[in-house]
């Protein structure tokens, strides 16, 4: 607990709700309903000073429409810009999809704890992603590739409903060609095409087939809740302990500051204490995830 500000005793603190202005530099269409936005802060100082960890998120403001939290999909090792991959779902995301290059948006953050990158050093990393859930993993994957010597082997298992739903298609190729990185792609049965060279099947099944070893390894997983549920079963079968499994949770994080009161799971605020948790931590929660 921090010391309570005595009325009348302090300088006015900075405004925690005021976003920084950022311009959209580039928009890439990943799939039919997912776009990746490259954002550059208007303020040159901020472009240099804005630092973050993979797994952290920002509050993305469309002035006049609304604000929503999105994870940072870019790697902090690539300086000068940030990227978010956004699926068209509701009011704000629809407005975001209507944006064009050069449009101005607001950014608050970064918020949350982020992935424990330091702890990952010297370990084998297994990434298990589904659909748009690859976005936060992408941040970490590029971070790992850019600092390749700090980490051991990398295994990536990524799947989506169909080939068209795979995100970062160009980057997947780059990852595949990186030494020490083993990428397995899969699509749900029925989502394949004739020339599809990857696997066909749900992510947990393919993960079992890839069969990574739990020794000196960490699993980082993100995707739809149903996928995570079965990925955990698979990992359990393969003798991964709950401390070795890291995921990011999704909640409605309106303020990102641990104040607005809706993202808590028990006394834990996902926006402040998370969104990254080990499965061992999650097991302690009373509420269902």
């Amino acid at each position: 607990m921090t010391e309570v500000l005595k009325p009348g005793s302090s300088e006015p603190p900075e405004n925690i709700y005021l976003p920084h202005l950022a311009a959209i530099k580039e928009i890439r269409e990943e799939t039919q309903d997912i776009k990746t936005f490259k954002l550059v802060f208007q303020d040159e100082e901020l472009r240099k000073s804005f630092t973050y960890k993979p797994g952290q998120f920002i509050e993305f403001s469309i002035f006049g429409v609304g604000e929503s939290p999105f994870c940072l999909a870019s790697s902090p090792t690539r300086e000068g810009y940030i990227e978010c991959s956004i699926k068209k779902m509701g009011k704000v995301t629809q407005a975001i999809h209507d944006l064009e290059e050069g449009d101005i948006v607001g950014i608050r953050g970064p918020y949350g704890n982020g992935f424990p990158v330091e702890e990952m050093k010297g370990k084998n990393l297994i990434f298990v992603g589904g659909g748009i859930g690859l976005a936060p993993l992408r941040s970490l994957i590029w971070n790992v590739i850019d600092r390749r010597d700090d980490f051991k082997d990398v295994i990536i298992v990524y799947g989506s409903r169909s080939i068209a739903d795979l995100v970062y298609k160009d980057e997947l190729k780059q990852w595949q060609n990186t030494p020490g990185v083993k990428l397995t792609l899969t699509v749900d049965p029925g989502g394949e095409a004739e020339d599809w060279k990857g696997e066909i099947g749900f992510v947990p099944t393919i993960l079992e087939k890839v069969n990574p070893s739990p020794g000196n390894s960490l699993v980082i997983t993100c995707g739809p809740p149903i996928m995570i549920k079965f990925v955990l079963v698979t990992l359990n079968k393969m003798n991964f302990s709950s401390q070795q499994i890291i995921t990011t949770l999704e909640r409605k994080m309106t303020c990102g500051l641990g104040k607005c009161g809706r993202c808590n799971i028990g006394s834990v605020y996902v926006c402040k204490d998370g969104p990254v948790f080990t499965y061992a931590q999650i097991e302690q929660f009373q509420e269902e995830i």
């Binding site: 002035f63 006049g64 050069g102 449009d103 101005i104």
Partner: protein, 166 residues
Amino acid sequence: MTESREPNTEQQEEWQPKIIGFLCKWCSYAGADLAGGSRIPYPANIRIIRVPCSGRVNPLFVLKCLENGADGVLVSGCHPGDCHYSEGNYYARRKFAVFKKLLEYLGVDPRRFQVSWVSAAEGEKWAEIVKTVVEEVRAAGPNKQLSAPVDKCSGAPVKRKHLKND
């Protein structure tokens, strides 16, 4: 859109009433079209929104218009018996009869919400109705009851075209 694209009429020149018209596409819209095609003059204070049927108009549309700065709203449909969907305008008639009473009861100026039947052949009648409605709303003055006149902002995101070319 935060910069109003029109000159601020209220300050620069005489205030002009702004009226939103919800017109059924089968009768009243065609009627308005006829008025235009026949070069029958009527005031330009009305902005027309075409709807499939007067029965489609939710009273919330009317409220929203008044809330967002319209000075008056006119709903116009087919004459009873002429509805393309047989009975849409009959339902509309009941709905707006009640809604009009409610607005009046709450003290909203009754001139701000009006209903008319205009057929596809009634270009003259359309022009007359618009004239009357505009005059009545003009007499009622700017809508200060339901609208919040301070910020004219549609709530659309900041687009590049709103900014100076750099």
